[in-house]
Subunit: 337 residues, 2 copies
Amino acid sequence: MRILLDVMGGDSPPEELIRGGVAAAHETNVDILFAGNLQTIRAVLARIHEQEGSHFSILPATQTITMADPPVQAVRNKRESSLVKGLVALRDKQVDGFVSPGNTGAVVAGSIFTLGRLPGILRPGIAASLPTLSGQEIIVIDVGANVDCAPKHFEGFAMMGASYAAAVKGIHEPRIALLSIGEERGKGNKLNYHAYDCLEASSLKFIGNVEGHHLLTERPVDVVVCDGFVGNIYLKAVEGGISAVTALLRRNINASARAKVGAVLMQPVFRILRDKLSYQQHGGAPLLGVNGIVVIAHGRSDAMAIQTAINVARCTATANLNKLITKQMKRENASGG
Amino acid sequence: MRILLDVMGGDSPPEELIRGGVAAAHETNVDILFAGNLQTIRAVLARIHEQEGSHFSILPATQTITMADPPVQAVRNKRESSLVKGLVALRDKQVDGFVSPGNTGAVVAGSIFTLGRLPGILRPGIAASLPTLSGQEIIVIDVGANVDCAPKHFEGFAMMGASYAAAVKGIHEPRIALLSIGEERGKGNKLNYHAYDCLEASSLKFIGNVEGHHLLTERPVDVVVCDGFVGNIYLKAVEGGISAVTALLRRNINASARAKVGAVLMQPVFRILRDKLSYQQHGGAPLLGVNGIVVIAHGRSDAMAIQTAINVARCTATANLNKLITKQMKRENASGG
């Protein structure tokens, strides 16, 4: 299997991202096609004593789509960017999957333009995997592909999220819930109210509304559905809450000798904390519903986060997820759902 | 000063809430009028050796509005509830402020029906104060009063949030931002796009979009504006992130003798963590824009959270916030803002 890694356009320098790609290749038997500036990638591979060849190859790209670029225009005008060239390589079956920590909007727009949508899918959605205390992740979809949704789009998100949970995460008959601000049926805004009806009418195991304060501690469901604006707000807020605690701990431990000793004794606990809750170990959100395996890594991805994202692409490709989604959509549409 | 405390309808039993009211009264020279079941309140006051009198008095109520009650119908039909009777007492100037940990929707609907809106205010909004690492809170408005908003409502939220930040939190010329999913002007959904225009056209110190992942660690602004659905999702997600870390710490500390010793040494740090980030110390969100001081406490409020909420009501009343909001609205409307 061969995965393309876009090493430009993330917040981390290409070297950090390339190291992640190399680590992923060494961990599993996956080949990496690095897309980006030829000289930069060559120099990094030489520095870390890796040879260019079938295992590590380069797709040279002379342009970069930055975080600040307006997505649709960038994809149209920067045809020589690592992002666009990478998606073309995926479309042309030169690779089995595509991973980028770059401009999310541009990855979404570029994927829809270049790869097209799967049959029956109205709106592709980004599925984030969040760590929970139970050890099993929770899937949240959509976390940013669609900022303005209609109720009917939620059913597609739920269906794709359920297929992903089942095929890639091994969850049997995933339980689906709608992210809202109260558990009662009437709680939420108008969009959610009508989305609830659509989800209830589907063949999915829909259990109702769920609130965001206990998802990680109690993991009441397997898949949480929301529109992309709300999902992205939710995701960043969770990240903000976690980083507030860890930053406060770090600051106050460093300010006291006694606490420093305590922290040394507690090191195994802090390691569990980092392993369980860091996005580095849980990053890599597939864009579901496009005709190809596309994984969006966190913009601030370091090498470990990239390694995780490549693993997500590998597992999603191995599970043949897109075939399953297409089959499920056909069944759902045939039943009039 | 006299504050009414609704002791029914929260998730905690009345006794816990009454203890919070008593603690608040002992801390500052505020009188408490407890609204709820007469026998229950009498029994609790006797048990904790407090006398009924001018300091602690009772407004008997025979009905309770529960969390599951549909807000508008509950307010209309349960006229003998502690929530409705309490708001009537506030309207009739028997008290200077009203605090409830009950059904948020019912408090909002009841307040609008009973007290009315301040002149010029289209939509009252709930202003939550979030703790940050800097030690100074950040105000988020609206966190749940309005789940479906128009762009023009955001300006009112911003104006009320700024007045609250200035008058109650002592922040000079508060910086306002719009909660979104990217800092660039174009990022966000349609509602946010147009809300941005409204905020930019106002006389406020509007600095643009802000994302949720660094609000508590970096505190880039003083007031964050959003619609009530998104604000409530944000708030509960932050709470979820924080509680995931603390629950994981607790569980793993208890599982290891070595970590337990470490935790003892780190106790002062954990105390700072609890003091800085717990909602108990930062709870109590005023409903701004209604003609009276109404403070909504967290549904799961314990005694300490209630004590904090009563202090919020006291400070808001002392600052004469509603007069300031009315004046500011007049100025804004006169300038065509």
